[in-house]
Amino acid sequence: MKTFYWLVKREFWEHRGGFFWAPVITGGIFLLLNIMGIITAEVLGARQGISFGASGGLRKVIEGMDAGDMSKVGFALDIAMYSAMGLLIVVLGFVVFFYCLGALYDDRRDRSILFWKSLPISDASTVLSKVVSATVVAPIVAVIVGIIVGMLQLLIVAITLSFHGVNVWQLLVLAHPFKVMFNLIGYIPLYVLWAAPAVGWLLICSAWARSKPFLWAVALPVGAGLLVSWFGIMGLFNLPATWFWKNIVQRALFSVFPGSGSIFSADSDNMVSHVTGSDALDLVNTWHMAASPNLWIGVVIGAALLAGATWFRRWRDDS
């Protein structure tokens, strides 16, 4: 266990840039853009002589709100918090994608694998430490940064409005930061499962490729997809070619993007569509996916690919 902790720590040392600085910088840029947006709006507003706070219009609106309206404001604020996460999630997807591609390849290329292999560490725990770094450590850091950025975002909005004489602090109470936090953190286990086939595929390419793992990782599924589409192979199974693109190509490459499961999982069509607003991100709803065979078949295939990656890690002899 201690060894495993240090293996994960080792990954964090090496990839501090991707795991830590990438979300922090993205969050910073997000906030900066928001502040710039607000300033632009203020300047434009002042120039046009529009002063929406001073007239007390907004205050009246707030005072006139009933309970239903209040909960809508709460949702809106929650969405504001999630929105900070949205950008981070895209960045996280890229970080995890390229991290996995390099994880078992970079040290073979610079031959430092000879140093790592001189230590009493099994190849299985090495591979597992990379999986955990990609699917647990990186998302946790991103979520923490996302929550902090989300809170700052609310704060900025509140401060801006209070300059206009609108006291929105009472409105902030309507937000559910803890629920948002809970939902985001609770999504991580689902992400681990959903990302399994992509992580497995990228890691096996990383462990196997003698050069250019990116090319192999992308060219193989896409090439296969083109062949399948061209020759209509899926017709043999009475399935459209898009089935292959959706369930093989997409799963192998894009499952590392958090939330992609909810967006293009096979049964998204019959997902509870009446859920609206930020409720869709509640664990009750996101974890619906845990019932889909798509997820679990992916997990099984992911595990098999990881076993293959471990085997290649053990026996690939080119350093």
């Binding site: 040290d107 001189s118 009493p120 190849d123």
Partner: protein
Amino acid sequence: MSAVITANGLTKRYKSALALDNTSFQIEPGRIVGLIGPNGAGKTTALKAILGLTDFSGELNVLGFDPRKQRDKLMGEVCFIADVAVLPRWIKVSQAIDFVANVHPRFDRKKCEAFLARTKLQPSQRVRQMSKGMIVQLHLALVMAIDARLLILDEPTLGLDILYRKQFYQNLLEDYFDENKTIIVTTHQVEEVEHILTDLMFIRDGRIVLDADMDAVGERFIEVMVGADKADAARALKPIDERQVFGKSIFLFDGANRAVLEQLGETRRPSISDLFVATMKGTYA
């Protein structure tokens, strides 16, 4: 004590070439073995097989483990420096120590820090900021602080200047080696390891062509410097090598009668490099 390494019928074939050709050998504890051979003779393949880094056929027992099946356990007892500068470039000195200290049960942190105190290395320094010589110093400090029974060095001083090279072997002898440890070293700089080796192994085309301890080498191989007048007499005794120096001929004999040779001229023990050249004649032809 039983042998550290026992190899029987070791064979490894790469696509085009035979890297190990049914090789058998045994290495006893407390020895410093020089594994010496021309490029492509199979040295590195043999070491990789011992370390479980490559697959092979035949029998191999290293400290009671099968390197193919029990690699991670084996690595608790074995250390290796494979080539210079294989430390990851992003790592800091302090991180390298922390990491090894926490994953290697036989690592002695104090020892490592004491070794590093003798160098210019700083804890916050990254490998990518170091010269080749400094990287080897760090690697050696890490390895010497591990109480392993077998240390394998594959070209550990390649590309280092002479100060680092001398210091490397001196540290190894003074601060590391004892009768419970075994060291296997491959190098092309034969002259530098000559005086520290206890055993010598020559490998050529995947076969061990010479396997003897240094005393036996001194007994078996004799070099004689012979004047022109007695050169034919020397040639009649079938030397394995002949070369000319300052009008005299130097003959190298394998297992000849020392008394007879002494009558021909001045005898001495051949250097390993001369022996090597004589043994490997025609390798690249």
